[in-house]
C-alpha cells in the first residue's frame, strides 16, 4: 500500500516512469473490463485508453479510501456504461414473460481450453443490452434496481435482459462445447 502511495505521488509529480508502472499494473484489468462490456477489440482498446487518461488526469483526487485497483475498475465500468448509454441501445421491455432464473453449468465437463479469454469472446458475441446487464449483475454484483438506475431502464427490462443473456450465453457455451455442457432448467 505504501509502495502504491509512493507510486501515485510520483505520478502526481509527473514522473513518467511511475506512470508507466501504474499503466502496466492496471491497463490489463481495465482492458479486460472493456472487452467484457464493449463490442469489438478496437472500441474496447479506445475506451481502455480513455479510462487510463481519466485515471492520470484525476489521480490527484484519489483519496486512498480504497485500493487504486478498485478505483480504476470503477472508472472503467462507468466509462463503458457511458459509452453504451450514448448509443441508447436499450429498449424498455414491459412484457410479463417469466424467464428461468436458474441456469447451471457443470464445471467438470468443461474442457480446459474454455478459458477466460474464450468466455470473454463469447460475452462479446452477446447483444450489447444483454452483455451490459449480465456484466453488471453477475460480475459487478449490481441489483436490478441499481442497473435500472444506471442504464435508465426499468427493473423489468433489466430482469428480462439478464435472463435472455444467461440463456444465450449458455447456448453459446453449449454450441462450442456440446459434449460437456448440459442445460438444466430444474429448480432447486
Amino acid at each position: 500500500m505504501d509502495d502504491e502511495k509512493e507510486l501515485i505521488q510520483k505520478c502526481i509529480d509527473g514522473d513518467r516512469y511511475a506512470m508507466k508502472q501504474i499503466f502496466q499494473k492496471h491497463f490489463g484489468k481495465t482492458m479486460t473490463i472493456c472487452l467484457r462490456y464493449i463490442d469489438g477489440n478496437e472500441n474496447a482498446q479506445d475506451i481502455a485508453q480513455e479510462v487510463m487518461i481519466k485515471v492520470f488526469d484525476h489521480i490527484k483526487e484519489f483519496k486512498f479510501q480504497s485500493s487504486l485497483s478498485t478505483w480504476v475498475t470503477r472508472i472503467a465500468i462507468n466509462q463503458c456504461i457511458n459509452f453504451i448509454n450514448k448509443k441508447n441501445i436499450f429498449v424498455s421491455i414491459e412484457d410479463q414473460d417469466i424467464y428461468p432464473e436458474n441456469i447451471y453449468i457443470e464445471e467438470e465437463e468443461i474442457k480446459p481450453e474454455v478459458n477466460s479469454d474464450y468466455i470473454i469472446e463469447l460475452i462479446q458475441k452477446l447483444p450489447t443490452g444483454y452483455r451490459t446487464v449480465l456484466n453488471l449483475y453477475a460480475i459487478e454484483n449490481y441489483t436490478h434496481n441499481q442497473i435500472a438506475q444506471t442504464l435508465g431502464i426499468s427493473e423489468g427490462t433489466s430482469k428480462s435482459q439478464l435472463s435472455k443473456a444467461r440463456q444465450m450465453l449458455k447456448k453459446l457455451v453449449s454450441n462450442h462445447t456440446p459434449t460437456i455442457v448440459k442445460t438444466t432448467s430444474e429448480k432447486e
Binding site: M31, T32, Q49, Y104, I105, E106, S116, L134, I139
Partner: protein
Amino acid sequence: MKKNKKHIDQWLKDTVSDAEYHPKMEDWQAFEALYFKEKKKKGVLWIYPLIIIIGSLIYISQLDKNENKKTVYQKNSEVKKLSKNKPSLTSDHLKENSNFNDQKNYISYDNSIKHINILNDNQSNKLYNSIIENNNEAGLTKSTSNNISNEAITDSNNNISDVSDSVISIYNKNIDSIPKVLDNIYNKPTDKNKYPKQLWYMGIDTYCLLAGKQTSTNNNIDVELSKKINYMVEGFIGLNIKKNINIQTGLGFYQTHFNTISNENSLNVNTSFSQVTNINIDTSSKRLVKVTHQIAQYDTVYSQSKKQASVSINYIYLPVNIKYQLPISKKLNLTTTIGFNYYIQTSTKITGEGLTQISLLPKTNKSVNLGLDMGYKIANKLQLSAGIYLYTFTKNTNIYLITHQQNLNAHLGVIYSF
C-alpha cells in the same frame, strides 16, 4: 458421481473476474503518445481563458482594495438645474451629521437620487452654490452622511445603476463583437486584394447575464445588491469605412429584474431602450494581434421602472482593447479580448411627477473587460457570433456612492454583410 453444478452467474464470475489482459509494450507507447498529445492540446486551449480568469481576479481584488479606501466625492460637479419650491425631505442621519449651520435647510438625501432636492432657501442655495463655484470637494464630502441607510443606498443604486448597466453591457458586447465582424468578414491578410473598399453589415445580438455581483460602497459600508435576470436584444447596422475603421449604430432593448435589499419580496423590473453609436479603429501589429481603439461612443438610454418615472443617461467611452485571435479553421475562429476603459457620463436626466430634473457634468468611471468570442461562418455572408466575457466596473452612482460590479455575460447573435 455427483456433478459439481454451478449457477451460470457464479461460474461466469469465477471464470472471468480474475482474467487479465496482458499489456504489451506497444500499449504503453500508444497510450503515452496519445496522453501527452491530448495534454498538450488541452494546455494550449486552456491557457487563454486561464489568463483571462487570473487577470480578472487580480484586477477585481486590486479594485476592491483601492476603492474601499477612497473618500467619496464628485469632481468638477456642476448643477445646471435646480428644483424650485420643493418641500424639504427629512433624513435624520443627514440632519445629525450635516455641517450646515441651519439645520432646517440642507441638501437632503433619501431613498434615491430623485430625492436630491435643493431647498429653495437662500441660505442653503448660497451654501450649495458656494460648493459648486469653488469646486469644494471637501465641502461635499463633509455634507455626506456617514450613516446613509442601506435602503437608501440600495434604492438609489437600483434606480440609476441598472440604467448604466444597460449601456455598459451594450458597450462591452460591442467591443467584443465588432472587431470580430472585421476579422471574420474580410480582414484576412491573405485575401488582401479582395477587400472591398466599404462593407456594410447588420445583425442582431442577444445578451444575458450569467452571474453578477454588485456592491455599493459608502464610506466603507458595502451593500450587496440582488439581481435576478438581466437580458438584452440589440439590432445594429455598421459600415466598415476602411479595412480597419468602422462605425456602428444600434438600438437595444434591455430588461433587468431585481429585488432590492430592503424588500426581498418586491420584484422590480427596469426596462431600458438604448441607442449606441461608436467608431472603432483596429491596428494590427502582427497577423493575429489586434489593438482596438474605440475612439468614441455615444449612448442615450431611456429607462422606465415601477419605482421611478424615467432616466436618461449619456455616456462617452474611451477604451483600449487588446485582442488575440486564434484561427481554428476557415469557418471558425476564437478571439480573446482584454480591454481597459474609461467612460464619462455626460449627463443625467430624471423626469416624472414630483421629481427633480438634474444634470451632473461630468462623471468619470472605469471598467475592464475580458472576453472569449467565437465567430463561425454559416454561409458566405452570414456569420454566427457567440461569446462569454467578464467585465468589472466602478462608477460613482452619485456623489455619495461608489458602485462596483463584476458580471459574467454571454451573447449570441448573427451578422450579415452586404
